[in-house]
């Protein structure tokens, strides 16, 4: 379709090479490959690696419009603010680099991961706030604003790297993964719809004028810049985190949303990001 589209084989190889090493469960890679196989059959001619562009990968005209917007990305200024914030030392003289290391390109790809001491999934946003509060700084809000800017900066730094979420061979880690998987497939809300209903079984179908993006590739481009969010913001700030989007999805099916960084959404992120294993990070990205 376009030069950005990589071969199906490459994606499959990437997934298969990201599989378990000793001590790691392979459960998520098996699920990711099964889902990608499903989409290969459902969307013949569409390269799996192109699904990092969501619904834009499914239509040439939409893709061209998307690429035009990405030439002068509307999130650029916000990401620059995130970079400035990230590089500004804390009052105690320390900085984010003391928490995350000097190589900013290596940060994003470490998340989400299982922390065996905390017995919990840990997200990037969670560790950004932990770094701040551990150093006597005020925590940021979870869903937008500076949190999304900093997360956006680290996503920019990670562009081109391969998503490789690891589920350790630990019953508690596997249980957290399974909990996220259950959330994904479970119908909820008054509209009786699951994440999978829209983004697997009807992924690529129209909902009114909009095309539903396939679940594979969705987690690659977060935080995302949504025009819808920008329209409701006085300074056209449309940048938001993955958990902001989860809450929006739950509300759309008329289910009570969970709190950002709740155990439910962290486990969902653990499963959901795993479904893009083998694909590239390309966040932040523009979406309608």
């Amino acid at each position: 379709m376009h030069k950005i589209v990589k071969s199906l084989l490459a994606a499959s190889v990437a997934v298969s090479t990201s599989v378990a090493v000793a001590g790691n469960s392979d459960i998520n890679n098996k699920d990711a490959m099964a889902m990608q196989e499903y989409f290969k059959n459902k969307l013949p001619g569409v390269e799996m690696s192109s699904l990092i562009h969501g619904a834009y990968a499914l239509d040439e005209s939409r893709f061209d419009q998307f690429m035009n917007i990405e030439e002068f990305p509307p999130y650029e200024d916000f990401v620059a603010k995130g970079e400035e914030f990230y590089n500004t030392p804390f009052k105690n003289g320390k900085s984010f680099a003391d928490c995350f290391g000097d190589d900013t390109s290596a940060v994003k790809a470490k998340y989400p991961h299982w922390d065996s001491k905390k017995e919990s999934v840990v997200t990037l946003e969670e560790d950004i706030n932990k770094c701040l509060t551990d150093n006597g700084e005020k925590a940021l809000g979870w869903k937008k604003g500076m949190m999304a800017y900093v997360s956006g900066y680290l996503a920019t730094e990670a562009r081109g790297q391969t998503i490789n979420v690891v589920v350790p061979d630990d019953p508690k880690a596997i249980a957290a993964y399974e909990d996220g998987k259950k959330h994904f497939y479970q119908k909820r809300g008054q509209l009786n719809l699951s994440c999978a209903d829209c983004h697997v079984y009807y992924g690529s179908s129209y909902v009114r004028s909009e095309v539903l993006s396939p679940a594979t590739g969705q987690a690659s481009h977060f935080p995302v810049y949504r025009q819808k969010w920008a329209n409701g913001s006085p300074n056209e700030d449309g940048l938001g985190t993955l958990h902001r989007r989860y809450g929006g999805c739950n509300k759309q099916v008329r289910a009570k949303p969970f709190k950002a960084q709740s155990e439910e959404y962290k486990n969902l992120e653990f499963f959901h990001t795993s479904m893009s294993n083998g694909l590239e990070y390309n966040g932040p990205a523009y979406r309608k």
């Binding site: 497939y185 909820r188 697997v200 509300k251 008329r254 949303p257």
Partner: protein, 125 residues
Amino acid sequence: MKHLAKIAAGVSAALLLSSSVAFAGGKAAPTKENFEKALAQANAALDRAASVEGEWRDSRWKKSTFVKYKTKDGKTHKSSFLGAAEIAAADGDYASAMKFAETATFQGNMGYEQAVGQKNIGPRF
């Protein structure tokens, strides 16, 4: 005489039956006391739904703006069903308040059944 007694018994039974049907099919009177019972029932149903992560958006979520209710002062309030029930009750409109609370109870029961019914759900491919 025996015949009359049979008729009287029949009529009594019919009256008893019709009155019990009317009672079963009737709604509780819109009073403060009955509203409080309906409110407690709704919260219990929603707590049960929440215990299985099955609560719906507009039942009692504080940020819901789905249900519109106009109070006697002409002001339109937007809230959840349970929120609207409390607003209507505060406005003295117990009939509407009980109706909203009953909807919230229904949603709580449905949310619970929905979540429990899918506890072993997984991919269909």
